[in-house]
């Protein structure tokens, strides 16, 4: 009882301390803010015109907003579309060269309603984060400048042009000795540990691709190895290992603006899935109800595939097999939308064995990230699978360690996964100020 009271008192003391500190600093800050800095000559002279352009910058993760607020200062940044003059919607897609194709859509609001523009650019596969943010900043400014032309800052703005001879490294590519093939190899290792536990994870990947509007060829190979050690004390040590490898190939032919024909093949093995070697091949057809060129904003595809898989298992399966060949087919419907109000995705697939039609898996998932009203956004994700196709499960019971550490696939006839959340912000709409102080401690 006494212990609880002391705890309670400590908590109360803590909160009181915090509140006092808060009150003191707010009073202080208000005092400081009560005298706004005198406007500079430029601002005072320009009070007559419309206020500065208010930008709602809508990037999922691609933009370095702190950098932009420092580098592009002739506009004001606000945190809600409802109070903005201009909504800048940024999407990226992978290019055939392994870089990113950026699409920057400037959507006019308020006095610019109906005045929309789209600018695009690409960054290479090896561009550093600084190069990407600079290039985005440059295109961002080029798109903004016409909208900012009637704001007080216009006299201080200008568009500059360095003719190609003056720009270093701007020599045009005359011919491509690689015939559009791009190769990439990646290796990584990560380790962590303390006195009684150690984790290690190692990966090696290679990929090659050739992407043109008519054909897409992707080949890749990868291997991964994970080893974890737990010292339980009294000389008992548990070591867990999972490993897998795969080789994949995908060849897609564009048939029309909406139809494609695709072929896929793979060889893989996985300790988690009890496969010593799985060889699969499939051919299929895909239809997009929207033209593929609009895929960054909207797509609705239906894909049908038929294929054959041959499995060699590490250990005898629950169906007493060490090897088997399974013909199968699948149909998938996918929807993706990224619009000014948010993004929505949904997908449903049905995969069935053709030799045992009662063995199948049907999965559905949906996600939404939507700005419902000013300051309020909501996201949700939900997925559910009905599972009747676990032919590769190892016969025999798993140990408690194998279950707790998720070392191998367990029998189940369903799997679900959902998440949701909301965020609501209110208060000052301005987010233009960058203050990096004490960043290491708290941010």
């Amino acid at each position: 009882m006494r212990h609880t009271t002391t705890l309670y008192l400590t908590a109360v003391r803590g909160f009181v301390t915090l509140l006092l500190a808060f009150a003191a600093t707010v009073a202080c800050a208000q005092g400081a803010a009560a005298t706004p800095p005198a406007p500079t000559g430029a601002q005072a002279a320009a009070q007559a015109g419309p206020p500065p352009l208010r930008i709602f910058l809508d990037c999922q993760y691609e933009c370095d907003t702190e950098y932009l607020r420092r580098a592009v200062t002739f506009v004001d940044y606000v945190r809600d579309r409802g109070v903005a003059d201009l909504h800048v919607l940024v999407t990226t897609q992978s290019t055939g060269g392994g870089g990113s194709a950026w699409i920057v859509k400037f959507i006019g609001l308020q006095r610019f309603l109906g005045l929309d523009r789209t600018l695009t650019f690409t960054t290479g596969p090896t561009a550093t984060s600084d190069e990407r943010r600079r290039e985005f900043g440059r295109i961002f400014k080029l798109g903004l400048v016409a909208y900012a032309a009637d704001t007080p800052v216009a006299p201080k703005l200008d568009v500059t042009y360095r003719s190609p001879q003056q720009t270093p490294g701007a020599s045009a590519l005359v011919r491509d000795p690689w015939h559009r093939w791009v190769f990439r190899t990646n290796a990584s290792a990560s380790m962590s540990g303390e006195a009684s536990t150690e984790y290690g994870s190692y990966r090696l990947n290679f990929s090659g691709s050739r992407v043109t509007p008519d054909w897409k060829v992707n080949v890749s190979a990868g291997t991964s190895y994970n080893e974890n050690t737990f010292d339980l004390g009294d000389g008992e040590v548990i070591k867990s290992i999972t490993e897998s490898s795969n080789v994949n190939a995908l060849v897609v032919k564009s048939l029309t603006g909406k139809w494609s024909w695709g072929n896929a093949g793979s060889i893989s093995n996985s300790s988690f899935a009890n496969t010593a070697r799985a060889v699969s091949g499939s051919t299929g057809i895909e239809y997009d109800f929207f033209p593929y060129v609009e895929s960054n904003r909207r797509s609705l595809t239906v894909t049908y595939r038929v294929g054959l898989s041959n499995y060699k298992y590490r250990e005898l399966t629950v169906y007493d097999k060490l090897e088997e060949t399974i013909p199968n087919h699948s149909v998938t419907v996918s929807l993706g939308l990224r619009q000014p109000w948010g993004s929505v995705g949904a997908s449903s697939s049905f995969n069935q064995h053709l030799n045992h039609t009662d063995r199948f898996r049907s999965s559905t998932y949906g996600n939404a990230d939507v700005r419902v009203f000013k300051g309020f956004s909501f996201y949700a994700y939900a997925g559910y699978s009905k599972i009747k196709d676990q032919v590769a499960l190892r016969k025999g019971a798993a140990t408690p360690e194998e279950i707790l550490l998720r070392l191998e696939q367990q029998a189940t006839n369903y799997s679900f996964n959902y998440s949701f959340g909301f965020s609501y912000s209110f208060g000052s709409i301005f987010t233009s100020i960058v203050n990096p102080r004490f960043g290491g401690v708290f941010d």
Binding site: G14, A33, T95, G97, G99, V182, S415, G440
Partner: protein, 392 residues
């Protein structure tokens, strides 16, 4: 290059030469964009020039009208300068979609001194009724399940922030709980539950371009670390060897804090305590770079109890991501800590499940994390084709 047709009385050759990123053509039907420039004067003599841009061909439907006013007293040269600048503003968005795009940029002349708030926009912020305060509420939930295992995680947060050049104030409350279930055998199920919550605050006053002073204060609770309730307050000062205004490119900060924490534990600790008060101080040095060649960061932290100096912790952290030459980039990060400050750990031994599922903090003298890798790309890297068919 964009071909522009100009219907404009004062646009002579010299004016056209200041718009070098388009090619001017003589007939409207040869053009990608046409510009009609007209003017009107008000009784006071202020002349307003109107520039009507109208896209053609692939730019069909893209129209925009820009205006620029010049006072009656302006010289002919000043007028032409203003019109030419506005012409460049209007043509830039067309030229940004031509081969001239990589060579274009927008400049903005500011009178901003280092460390000062950008004067660029912000003119109407004085009218902000919220006086820079921003409030956020958030909540999220996550669940996963199948026959033999399931898990869930829920969290909620609330915050109030005020960021100005002079002050930074952050107040935040956070709570989360997580639980999991494992069907270990047909008749045995293992369940776990964890939770933590915190109320944090940070207040920082800017003292010139290099110095800041402030404090953090917090009330926290963590089942993972046996901390039922911890109340702390830590006044601190920070010095950045570079001006803070350059923080997006580089920073080197030294942060020293001295404070006191009150601990209440869930279970009796290794040192047979259920609660204690500990003054302590912390010194942290952090370095960060983000440059065209890549980015790098490093920090070193020294933590020490002032009442029991043998309780201390030293840690080093570093990360680097660099393009070594065309196509080859390497990245790595690492963290090493020498740990002598686990005075709060629970006395009883951890169970096998607690160890395997990382449900509680274990006794250790060190902790490390290391991650490194490289990527090498070669071939036709400039191929900008996007082909979304069949995913992949």
């Amino acid at each position: 290059m964009i071909r522009a047709y100009l219907a404009c009385d004062i646009c002579d050759t010299a004016l056209r030469a200041t718009v070098a990123f388009v090619e001017f053509v003589a007939a409207v039907d040869q053009s990608d964009v046409s510009v009609t420039v007209t003017s009107a004067s008000d009784p006071a003599g202020t002349k307003t020039w109107q520039l009507a841009f109208s896209g053609r061909g692939e730019f069909a439907g893209e129209t925009r009208t820009l205006t620029v006013s010049v006072p009656a007293a302006a010289t002919a040269d000043e007028t032409r300068t203003a019109v030419a600048r506005t012409l460049r503003f209007g043509l830039a968005e067309y030229a940004a979609r031509s081969e001239a795009s990589p060579h274009l940029d927008v400049t903005f002349k500011t009178t901003q001194a280092a460390g000062e708030e950008p004067v660029g926009a912000a003119a109407d912020r004085a009218a902000d009724p919220w006086n820079y305060w921003v409030f956020r509420l958030g909540a999220s939930g996550d669940r996963f399940g199948e026959h033999s295992q399931s898990s869930s995680y829920y969290s909620g947060s609330v915050s109030a922030n005020r960021t100005t050049e002079a002050w930074k104030i952050r107040l935040a409350g956070y709570k989360s709980t997580s639980s999991s279930r494992y069907l270990v055998s047909e008749d045995e199920t293992f369940r776990s539950k964890e939770g933590n919550w915190s109320v944090d605050s940070l207040v920082v006053k800017s003292l010139g371009p290099h110095w800041s002073a402030g404090f953090t204060a917090a009330v926290t609770s963590s089942s993972f670390s046996n901390q039922r309730l911890v109340t702390s307050i830590n006044p601190a000062v920070e010095y950045d060897f570079f001006p803070y205004s350059e923080s997006a490119e580089r920073s080197l900060t030294l942060n020293y804090s001295i404070g006191v924490s009150r601990y209440s534990y869930s279970q009796i600790t290794l040192y047979d305590k259920l609660e204690e008060t500990m003054p302590k101080h912390v010194l942290e040095v952090s370095l960060g770079f983000r440059q065209p060649w890549g980015s790098a960061g490093a920090s070193a932290t020294f933590w020490q109890s002032l009442s029991e100096p043998s309780f201390n912790r030293q840690s080093l952290y570093g990360n680097v991501s660099v393009r070594i030459y065309k196509g080859l980039s390497v990245n790595g990060s690492g963290d090493f800590a020498r740990i002598r400050d686990q005075f709060y750990l629970e006395k009883s031994e951890a169970t096998e499940e607690e160890i395997l599922l990382r449900l509680r903090q274990l006794e250790t003298g060190h902790r490390f994390y290391l991650n490194f890798g490289f990527t090498y790309s070669f071939g036709s890297l400039s191929n900008a084709t996007v082909n979304p068919r069949f995913g992949g």
